[in-house]
């Protein structure tokens, strides 16, 4: 490990803004912990409490304790300039100096797509995200997202479910997973994908950390896919970062009556993004051809199942309408629907509504 790497990892425990680190690095010809504590201007850059703490923690024993602690928690820290450091981030103006990582580091340089959107998606948003994330993950794309509830977690879960890869970028330290009910999901991602954060494990999330980490979400994807987002959504930040970084933004159109699709529809209307109606739209734009793509298997449907599929082609329906339109009694319809759901032909959404999968 070089002195500079050591130095940056040492700095990571103080949760410093990127600008301050820039400033410090500018002052030093040869960055290292020793040179750092000897800096004359230290007390002008940081307040004296922090400087005292920095000098205290710069002791060899304490530095190695911090390192051992990270290793003990199976956390790898990659710093800007490492060969492990994601190449996609290097060029960014506000790239993090260090990233805490758990999991498979090789995913940084895989072909990837970021999937973002509303935290409270509608049934439509759920199913669209589920479908696109599934197909993208199956054809080898790494799904990048922010471990939030809603679209984020649907993307992560689907990727894991189909055996694909996924990266979750946290807006907090590893010890303070937010929302806490996603702790299990985070563990699973660390095992089968990659969990990263620019905050040291003890840092708690604030209202500023989430929008800020969105730049990493935007930066790590080869493109950014927005499946459903309302006009004032936090997804705006991710979109802005992506456009700044020159990434392609993909958006799924929605009903013009649905507030939850306001952002995506607006992006499409103003020509800021690529309109996505199927996964091929994304492949085409990114110049990717999917050789592995399995031909869709058509399950042999019997008469009644065909009838149900016909009815559902017009959009989501609740069971009473299906029963009325197919002229089926509720008992047998109930078991038909469950069986079709198990074989993956239809999906049941919240509110007892069914739609074609």
């Amino acid at each position: 490990m070089t002195d500079k790497q050591m130095f940056l990892i040492y700095l990571s425990q103080f949760n410093l803004p990127i600008k301050k680190i820039d400033e410090v690095l500018d002052l030093m010809e040869y960055p290292s912990i020793d040179n750092f504590v000897k800096l004359k201007d230290l007390r002008q850059i940081f307040n004296s409490d922090l400087v005292n703490e920095m000098i205290d923690r710069a002791e060899d024993r304490k530095v190695s304790m911090y390192f051992a602690n990270l290793r003990g928690n199976e956390i790898t820290v990659v710093t800007k300039g490492d060969e492990n450091y994601p190449k996609k981030l290097v060029e960014l103006p506000d790239a993090p100096y260090y990233l805490f990582c758990k999991g498979d580091l090789s995913l940084f340089d895989s072909k990837s797509i970021s999937i973002v959107g509303s935290r409270t998606p509608t049934n439509y948003g759920r199913i669209v995200t589920d479908r696109l994330a599934g197909e993208l993950a199956k054809s080898g794309f790494t799904i990048v997202s922010g471990l939030a509830v809603g679209i984020d977690s649907i993307g992560h879960r689907k990727a894991l479910e189909v055996g694909g890869k996924t990266i979750a970028v946290l807006g907090s330290g590893f010890n303070n997973i937010y929302p806490s009910e996603h702790s299990a999901l985070a563990r699973e991602i660390a095992e089968n994908g990659l969990l990263i954060s620019e905050y040291c494990p003890s840092v708690k999330s604030t209202r500023y950390t989430f929008p800020f980490r969105n730049r990493i979400v935007a930066g790590l994807g080869d493109g950014v896919l927005i499946t459903e987002a309302s006009a004032k959504s936090g997804t705006m930040h991710t979109k802005d970062f992506a456009l700044d970084y020159g990434k392609t933004v993909f958006a799924v159109p929605g009903n013009i009556t649905s507030e939850k699709s306001a952002l995506t529809n607006e992006l499409i209307r103003s020509n800021q993004c690529v309109c996505v109606t199927c996964v091929e739209d994304i492949y085409h734009e990114l110049g990717f051809t999917d050789e592995k793509k399995e031909k869709r298997v058509f399950v042999q449907l019997d008469m009644i199942q065909q009838k149900i599929v016909e009815v559902l082609k017009n959009g989501e329906k609740d069971i009473d309408s299906i029963s009325r339109e197919c002229n089926l009694n509720i008992n047998s319809l109930n078991s038909y629907l469950t069986m079709m759901e198990i074989s993956g032909i239809i999906r049941r959404m919240s509110g007892g509504v069914y739609m074609l999968a």
Binding site: R119, T120, N123, R126, V149, G150, P179, E181, E259, E316, D318, I319, D320, S321, S323, R324, I330, N331, S332, N334, S335, Y336, L337, T338, M339, E341, I342, G344, R348, M349, S350, G351, G352, V353
Partner: protein, 510 residues
């Protein structure tokens, strides 16, 4: 001069004999009641004196002491008035009363000598019959209630005069005729019928299964989707109560003073819907005198908890043990009473605090965290006791306006009755009456799956991400569905249907 007259007291829903011993001696005029009597009994002296005088009998200006034996058991209520008055009159010098000790007296007196209705006549008569008491004089208003007990002679009286005339042999009293329970059942027609509920086919079907197998139900849906309406119709498809069941339930209602005395017996299953501000004690029973709570009043019937997450958590948790055991033991410092509480739970809730999550008509405005917290109010152990989850959404205009004739409750009930018969045969010689009460061992024995069904269930668990606790519940519900179809074995379609009633186990919530 001493007279002993029989009467009865109430402890919980059982009666115990009380001897009203009356002693009249010379001395300063005085009236005293001893024997752990409550205020209502202490005040009896005023009622008794006025009633005797106003009925035209002589009230002795002497020292009167009344002891209610056994003296160490608390006694409550005004039902001893009549026995005290009879005892005092019988001690008159020129009294012509005969066979006073042959009867057991119950009744409250009004100042003009009228005999008023009292609580708990039915449970008292049942206990008294067991103990060998044969003849009773009771308030006229309680006559119908008493008519359902065979093997005893019950004489209803309207006033103290009527009672004394009878005892003197001056007048005859007509015995209460034995009532006909079957007639009562027919006379009770449910006001709310499923044919008034438009649409909601799945919910109706689920309630039919619930009624057939005694499964507890939770309904989830936005406000105004008809959850309460469905619940209120539910008793109309439950099997008729057997006479024994009816007596048991009537006993509790009689003690609580909630019985409709014109009908005399509860021929229709009780439907209790306490408001969500209900205190824990009002639900479980307790308080002064360890009274029966809502869950006991719902015995053999339905307890409907509307907006379940709004109840205090502690209150809901107290239902765990009665849901399992069918009884509740109310233990207080001065008495411990076990009430039956074998009820079916029907709960309803909104899917989120604003109520519109998953609705097709309105947008939900709750944050994911709010939804998560709302659903988390129902603890695992409580959810473990609820077999069927129904999602109810707002009815569309199409549903309201379509001319389709909705099925009547009576025809649904016919199917339910059939399914219950099958279950009664299956569980002969056990203490179980219906499928939902099967334990782990019984579930294994009676819910065997063939290979196809087993494969289906396994696939469902993998694909639909059901939680493990759903497994046995699905089997039990599938068993009931098979019983409704008259099938000996559980078939794949039964399993498939049962799975569709486990929506809260699915991951799409929150």
């Amino acid at each position: 001069m001493l007279a002993k007259v029989s009467s009865f007291g109430l402890k919980g829903i059982d009666g115990f004999p009380v001897e009203v011993e009356t002693d009249i001696t010379n001395g300063l005029p005085h009236f005293d009641v001893v024997g752990l009597a409550d205020t209502a009994i202490k005040e009896a002296k005023e009622r008794v004196r006025s009633a005797i005088r106003n009925s035209g009998y002589e009230y002795p200006i002497k020292r009167i002491t009344i002891n209610l034996a056994p003296a160490d058991v608390k006694k409550e209520g005004a039902l001893y008035d009549l026995s005290m008055a009879v005892a005092i009159i019988s001690l008159n010098k020129d009294s012509k009363l005969k066979n006073v000790e042959d009867y057991c007296y119950l009744g409250e007196l009004s100042l003009d000598g009228q005999v008023k209705k009292v609580k708990g006549v039915l449970p008292i008569l049942i206990s008294a019959r067991k103990l060998g008491y044969k003849k009773f004089i009771i308030p006229f208003d309680n006559a119908i209630e008493a008519s359902f007990i065979e093997g005893i002679d019950v004489f209803p009286v309207k006033s103290l005069t009527e009672c004394i005339d009878f005892l003197e042999g001056k007048a005859e009293l007509e015995k209460v005729k034995v009532g006909n329970y079957q007639k009562e059942i027919i006379a009770h027609t449910a006001v709310l019928d499923f044919c008034h509920v438009k649409g909601q086919e799945r919910a109706k079907r689920a309630l039919e299964i619930a009624a057939a197998g005694g499964h507890n139900v939770i309904m989830i849906g936005p406000p105004g989707s008809g959850k309460s309406m469905l619940a209120k119709c539910f008793p109309s498809i439950l099997p008729d109560m057997t006479f024994e069941e009816a007596l048991e339930t009537t006993k509790i209602h009689s003690v609580a003073g909630e019985l409709d005395l014109k009908k005399g017996i509860l021929a229709i299953r009780p439907f209790r819907s306490p408001h969500h501000t209900a205190s824990t004690v009002s639900l479980t029973g307790g308080g002064n005198g360890s009274k029966a709570g809502e869950i006991s009043l719902a015995h053999n019937g339905v307890l409907f908890l509307d907006e379940m997450p709004e109840y205090s958590r502690h209150t809901i948790e107290t239902l765990r043990q009665p849901l399992e055991d069918g009884v509740i033991t109310v233990a207080r410092a001065n008495s411990t009473i076990t009430y039956p509480a074998n009820f079916m739970l029907i709960a309803s809730m909104n899917p989120c605090p604003c109520g519109n999550f998953g609705s097709k008509l309105k947008e939900c405005t709750c944050t994911p965290n709010q939804i998560h917290k709302y659903l988390a109010k129902l603890s695992g152990p409580i959810m473990d006791r609820i077999d069927i989850h129904i999602e109810v959404d707002n009815v569309t205009y199409d549903d309201l306006k379509n001319g389709k004739e909705e099925e009547k409750s009576s025809s649904i009930k016919a199917r339910v009755d059939k399914a219950r018969d099958i279950q009664l045969k299956r569980f002969k010689n056990t203490k179980i009456y219906y499928n939902s009460k099967m334990g782990v061992a019984k579930t294994k024995e009676f819910c065997k799956l063939d290979k196809n069904s087993d494969d289906l269930l396994r696939m469902a668990f993998e694909k639909l991400k059901l939680s493990a606790r759903a497994h046995d519940r699905i089997l039990r519900v599938a068993r009931t569905i098979a019983d409704l179809e008259g099938e000996e074995n559980i078939l794949p379609q039964h399993i498939a249907e049962a799975i569709s009633y486990r929506s809260l186990d699915r991951k799409y919530w929150g």
